[in-house]
């Protein structure tokens, strides 16, 4: 599941999942929910995603910002993610596929554009009940 949480000027995105991958994927969905109605985005086109980072929480910021980059350059909105996170040496790598379609103002109920995922309120952790949370504030 995902949710948008309160912040005075911008919006927080939070994903919760059974695995860290699940939490990352849900968090990415929250990011697109800021911009459109993700239920209306048919996951018909595939885009490959590869990012890496020194820290697991920073990997989330890298991942979300990569998706924003693809939103502008490929004009894509995404609603489904199949990803794998691996630790390679000291680095964390994320690989996988984002599913979505080209921006369609008529169908996607466009909302506010997200500018960037930030380090503010950045958190990736496993909760006491075994579930993973991935969150940060997005500048809009």
């Amino acid at each position: 599941m995902f949710e948008l949480f309160e912040h005075k000027a911008d919006i927080g995105v939070r994903g919760i999942g059974e695995t860290k991958e699940g939490a990352f994927a849900e968090c990415a969905k929250a990011l697109f929910e800021i911009m459109c109605d993700t239920k209306k985005v048919i996951p018909s086109q595939k885009t490959e995603i590869i990012v890496s980072s020194n820290k697991l929480d920073e990997l989330l910021v890298e991942f979300l910002n990569e998706l924003l980059y693809l939103k502008d350059t490929e004009r894509m909105l995404f609603s489904k993610f199949e990803i794998k996170i691996k630790k390679v040496g000291k680095k964390f790598g994320l690989e996988g596929i984002a599913f979505g379609e080209k921006i369609d103002a008529k169908r996607h109920e466009l909302k506010t554009e997200a500018k960037a995922a930030s380090y503010s309120q950045l958190l990736v952790e496993k909760n006491k009940n075994g579930k993973w949370t991935a969150q940060c504030i997005v500048d809009v």
Binding site: K8, Y69, Y119
Partner: protein, 494 residues
């Protein structure tokens, strides 16, 4: 955590009142200078409230962190529209010594040179009122806005580099507007030293079709009626008359700036470690101004600044065309009042301890508001001071202020940029619906044209601080004084 909070609350009680509208956050801990807040009791109450709600992430903490940056001069300033930001509060400004100081991501943010470009339309408000719907629809068609919109300016390979180097002038060369207007843009629409090699390919790719687009969120293009003149002399110099009409364009460098910010967050994080600068917040990462990383970032910021000047100039040109089409006036008759940036870093000369000094002034959600007799202010306005455009919200007034000598002495010639948010976007979305807002504003005579009705409540007037109160603080403090108040007639949004 609890202990830390108790300590903090105690500390907040120590904010000292210096004068009616100036408060001081005393220097302690790692702070190199004290913090200064331009505000009233409400400003301080809002800051304390922010702190209570989130002891780890609030404006007061960010002020304290910022005041610890190397080379900071005099004070870290928070202005009346202050609220929590990334690394530093929105509505803050500081100046750094170029030899000892740093340039920080937090001093500029993700939306590099977001700002306002205002045009004076040679029509009476009553004339515009008669064709209000027509002009609203024309603007809505002509000005690309909202998520995924494309600009009309097609750039060939390498031309984006030219946009970053030349700023607004590039757009004029492409037939958008006239050269004479450039002097009415801060820095004449172009800061020197912007080298596109310091901007990533990713940033360039994101920006290719975005020059001449408004974006979304709090960005807008608004037709405004000049409702009240406070300062006849300045109004005359600025060319403002009661019942006259302005069009204000609020937007920035779009994804180019966002990506520059994103890219340099990691570069500066590395630099902070390399130069052993203690950074208490990941978005306050910085590099010494003189270092290679610092110079690269400064140059990239300049690229973003120039792209924003170009963007607003391109939109201004679209607005001129829309007015020419609907009202049969010539495009050249629509004059530029001024164009100000909000998220900038610039080398400027200011007085410190009685001596003029070159400083890197970093304004985050703050406007340059230079007083009279500064060479940077266009000669037409130089006797009265620089126009400062303070944007309100869709349902409230905006203000034209002028910079003062006092601002030069106290705040490095800086002032507020807008009303400042008071309520979160998520809460605003729960309180209102888009169509409800459009109807309510229509009753007040304000026509809203928005690409996204769903996102509209995020920008509801009540989600912001009272702009009049914020403006009055700066007016009474003598930092930037009121020249005119304008009322929205039409607001086009993404």
């Amino acid at each position: 955590m609890f202990k830390k909070m108790v300590e903090k609350v105690k500390k907040m009680g120590e904010i000292k009142k210096i004068s009616e509208f100036i408060y001081e956050v005393p220097k302690e801990g790692n702070m190199r200078v004290p913090g200064r807040i331009y505000g009233n009791e409400n400003t301080i109450a809002a800051l304390n409230d922010e702190f209570q709600k989130n002891p780890n992430w609030n404006s007061l903490q960010q002020m304290e962190n910022g005041a610890g940056l190397p080379g900071i001069q005099k004070y870290l300033f928070a202005l009346a529209d202050v609220h929590c930001g990334y690394g530093l509060p929105i509505g803050s400004v500081f100046a750094a010594d170029p030899n000892e100081g740093v340039i920080t991501f937090g001093g500029i943010g993700f939306d590099i040179n977001c700002g306002v470009h205002s045009l004076i339309v040679p029509l009476k408000a009553s004339e515009v009122e008669k064709k209000k719907k027509e002009i609203a629809e024309q603007l809505f068609r002509d000005v690309p806005a909202g998520l995924g919109s494309k600009g009309n300016l097609e750039l060939g390979s390498g031309e984006l580099d030219e946009v970053m180097e030349k700023g607004a002038e590039f757009v004029v060369e492409r037939g958008c507007g006239r050269r004479e207007e450039l002097k009415f843009i801060e820095e004449n629409g172009c800061v020197n030293g912007a080298d596109p090699k310091n901007v990533s390919e990713k940033a360039k790719q994101r920006a290719l079709r975005q020059i001449g687009t408004l974006g979304s969120g709090n960005h807008y293009c608004e037709i405004q009626e000049i409702e009240k003149i406070f300062d006849e002399e300045a109004a005359e110099a600025f060319g403002l008359e009661k019942e006259g009409v302005l069009v204000s364009i609020h937007c920035g460098s779009r994804a180019l700036g966002h990506q520059i910010g994103t890219d340099y967050l990691s570069i500066l994080a590395e630099a902070s470690r390399k130069y052993k600068i203690n950074i208490p917040d990941r978005e306050l990462v910085c590099a010494p101004i003189e270092s290679e990383e610092g110079q690269d970032f400064f140059s990239a910021v300049k690229c973003g600044m120039n792209a924003a000047f170009a963007n607003r100039q391109a939109i201004a040109s679209l607005v001129r065309r829309s007015f020419a089409k609907v009202f049969g006036i010539s495009e050249a008759e629509v004059k530029t009042l001024y164009d100000v940036g909000h998220n900038t870093a610039k080398m400027e000369r200011h007085k410190v301890n009685g001596k003029m000094k070159e400083l890197l002034v970093q304004r985050k959600g703050s406007t340059r508001g230079f007083g009279p007799d500064r060479g940077e202010v266009p000669s037409k306005y130089r006797k009265v001071g620089q126009p400062v455009i303070v944007g309100g919200t869709m349902g409230t007034h905006s203000f034209i202020l002028k910079g003062t000598e006092k601002a030069m002495e106290e705040t490095f010639g800086s002032t507020i940029h807008g009303a400042g948010r008071a309520m979160s976007r998520t809460r605003a979305l729960k309180m209102w619906t888009g169509s409800q807002m459009v109807q309510e504003l229509e009753k007040k005579g304000i026509l809203i044209k928005a690409k996204s009705l769903k996102g509209l409540p995020e920008e509801a007037p009540l989600a912001y601080k009272d702009v009049e109160e914020v403006v009055n603080i700066m007016h009474k403090a003598g930092i930037s004084t009121k020249v005119a108040m304008v009322k929205p007639m039409v607001c086009v949004k993404g």
